[in-house]
C-alpha cells in the first residue's frame, strides 16, 4: 500500500487518481501508523513554502517524514513537497525546511513567473524515476526551486531562465519539482517507475 500524506496541502485526489491509473492503490491519510507502515509515502504540496511547512509541522507530517527517513523507507515529494525537503526556502521571508537535502529553495531568475507549462527534464543515467523518460516534458507550476546539485544523489535538471533541480533521488528519498500526476503519459510512466521500486 502507498500512502499519500494528507497535511492540508496539495491536490490529493489528482495524485490518487494518477496512481490508480497506473494500477497502484493508495490511501490518503495523516495517520502516522499507516504512513509509517506503508511501502511508499507520497508528500504533495501546493502554495507557499512557509504555509506548507507550518501545516506539515502542525499535523504531525514532519515527524512522519523524519521517522521514515530514519527507517530508510521510500518517499517521494512532489512540487512544494519536494521543496520542503531542503534546508530552507526564501519565499515570503524565509522558512526552515525539513532539511533532508542540503540547499536553499529560492526564486527562479526568469522574466516571466510563475514557470507554468511543459518543460523538458535532463536526467542522469542513474535516475530510476526518469528511466525511459530522458528529455521528456513534464508539467511545472512554480516560481521557486532548488538550484544546487544534491551530493551523492541522482540530480535531474530543467532550464527556465536558469538551471534548477527538476528531480532528486538519493537512497529511499525521491522528489520532483514538476507534477507527474498532471503530466500525461510521461507522468504515469514516472509514477510507475517509482512504484515499482517499492
Amino acid at each position: 500500500m502507498i500512502a499519500i500524506l494528507d497535511y492540508g496541502s496539495g491536490n490529493l485526489r489528482s495524485a490518487q487518481r494518477a496512481f490508480a491509473l497506473t494500477g497502484h492503490e493508495t490511501i490518503v491519510t495523516s495517520d502516522p501508523n499507516i504512513c509509517l507502515a506503508s511501502e511508499g509515502l507520497v508528500v504533495p504540496g501546493v502554495g507557499a513554502y512557509g504555509a506548507c511547512m507550518e501545516q506539515l509541522v502542525a499535523t504531525g507530517g514532519r515527524a512522519i517524514i523524519d521517522a521514515r527517513v530514519a527507517a530508510q523507507k521510500p518517499m517521494i515529494g512532489i512540487c512544494v513537497g519536494m521543496q520542503i525537503l531542503f534546508t530552507n526556502g526564501t519565499e515570503k521571508g524565509g522558512h526552515d525546511g525539513v532539511g533532508i537535502f542540503a540547499g536553499a529553495v529560492s526564486q527562479i531568475d526568469a522574466p516571466i513567473l510563475p514557470h507554468i507549462g511543459w518543460n523538458n527534464v535532463r536526467s542522469e543515467i542513474s535516475s530510476i524515476l526518469l528511466q525511459g523518460l530522458q528529455d521528456e516534458s513534464f508539467y511545472f507550476v512554480h516560481s521557486f526551486a532548488a538550484k544546487s546539485a544534491v551530493a551523492d544523489a541522482s540530480n535531474s535538471w530543467c532550464t527556465y531562465g536558469e538551471e534548477f533541480l527538476a528531480a532528486v533521488e538519493r537512497g529511499p528519498v525521491s522528489a520532483v519539482q514538476f507534477h507527474p500526476e498532471k503530466s500525461g503519459a510521461a507522468g504515469a510512466r514516472l509514477i510507475s517507475n517509482w512504484a515499482e521500486t517499492l
Binding site: N11, R17, G47, I112, L113, G117, N120, S143, T159, G184
Partner: protein, 253 residues
C-alpha cells in the same frame, strides 16, 4: 529545449454538457465534456479550460460533477472559469479536480477576492480572465463583462496592473473585438499587455487560421487558447503545433 508554448482548447459547458454557440447565443449541444476532454488530451492539448456558462446554481453543481469525472480520466491540467464569486467556490472546484480557476466578473466587482484566493491556495491557481475591447479608457482598452456586451468603464491595463499586484498566476487575455471573427488574435493588445505584466499570458479570441497562432506568440503570448477552430475541426491541435514548430517555437509533440 525550453518551456513549450501551450495550446489550450476551451470548452463552454452548461449544465454538464459542452455547448457551441456564437457570443453565448444559439447554443447547440456539442457532446459530453469528458469524452471531448479525452479526445483533446489524446490529441496533444497541453491543458484544458472549461468555461462554465450555466445559468443556475443547480447547473453549476452539475458542472462540479463534470469536472470530477473529467479529472478521473484526463491527466493534464484543468482550468475552470465562470461563476466564481467566493473562496468557497474555488475550494469546491479544486476539490472536484480543477487545478486552476479563472475569475473575471466577481473580481471586478470586489478585487479583494484575488487576495483571498491567492492567500488561501497560492497565486498559481488563479487565472485572471480579462475580456477587453477597444474603448475610450486611458490605455484605449476597456474591461467588459457578460461576454463583451457590458462595458465597465474600467481601463483594462489599470485593472491588469492592480490584479497583478494583488496576486495572480496568469492572465487569460480575451479580445472581445476579435472574439468570434476568426480574423486573428489581437496582437496589438497582446504586445502592450506583455509590457505591463510579468505573469504568463494566454491569448484568446480570434483564432481562425494557422498563422494566427504564431503571430500571437510573436506578440508575446505564452499560451494560446482557442475554441471554435478545434470544435469545428478547422484544424487539429497537432497541426497547430506543427506550424508553431515550423516557426521555431518549442512545443510538446
Amino acid at each position: 529545449m525550453t518551456l513549450s508554448k501551450r495550446v489550450i482548447p476551451c470548452l463552454d459547458v452548461a449544465a454538464g454538457r459542452v455547448v457551441k454557440g456564437v457570443n453565448f447565443q444559439n447554443l447547440v449541444d456539442a457532446g459530453d465534456p469528458v469524452e471531448l476532454a479525452k479526445i483533446y488530451g489524446d490529441a496533444g492539448a497541453d491543458e484544458l479550460t472549461f468555461l462554465d456558462i450555466s445559468a443556475s446554481v443547480e447547473d453549476r453543481s452539475t458542472t462540479l460533477e463534470m469536472v470530477s469525472r473529467t479529472a478521473e480520466q484526463v491527466f493534464i491540467p484543468l482550468t475552470v472559469g465562470g461563476g466564481i464569486r467566493e473562496v468557497a467556490d474555488v475550494d469546491r472546484l479544486l476539490r472536484a479536480g480543477a487545478d486552476k480557476v479563472g475569475v473575471n466578473t466577481a473580481a471586478i466587482a470586489r478585487p479583494e477576492l484575488i487576495n483571498e484566493i491567492a492567500d488561501r491556495f497560492g497565486n498559481q491557481v488563479l487565472v485572471l480572465s480579462v475580456d477587453a475591447r477597444r474603448g475610450s479608457t486611458l490605455s484605449g482598452f476597456e474591461v467588459t463583462t457578460h461576454g463583451g456586451r457590458t462595458g465597465t468603464g474600467i481601463d483594462a491595463f489599470t485593472w491588469i496592473e492592480e490584479a497583478s499586484a494583488r496576486g495572480i498566476g496568469e492572465i487569460l487575455l480575451n479580445s472581445m473585438d476579435a472574439d468570434g471573427t476568426r480574423a486573428g488574435y489581437d496582437t496589438e493588445m497582446i504586445r502592450q499587455v506583455r509590457e505591463i505584466t510579468h505573469v504568463p499570458l494566454i491569448a484568446s479570441g480570434g483564432a481562425g487560421k494557422l498563422a494566427d497562432f504564431s503571430a500571437a506568440l510573436a506578440a508575446g503570448a505564452d499560451a494560446l487558447l482557442a475554441a471554435s477552430v478545434f470544435h469545428f475541426q478547422t484544424f487539429t491541435i497537432g497541426e497547430v503545433k506543427a506550424d508553431l514548430a515550423r516557426h521555431g517555437y518549442s512545443v510538446r509533440l
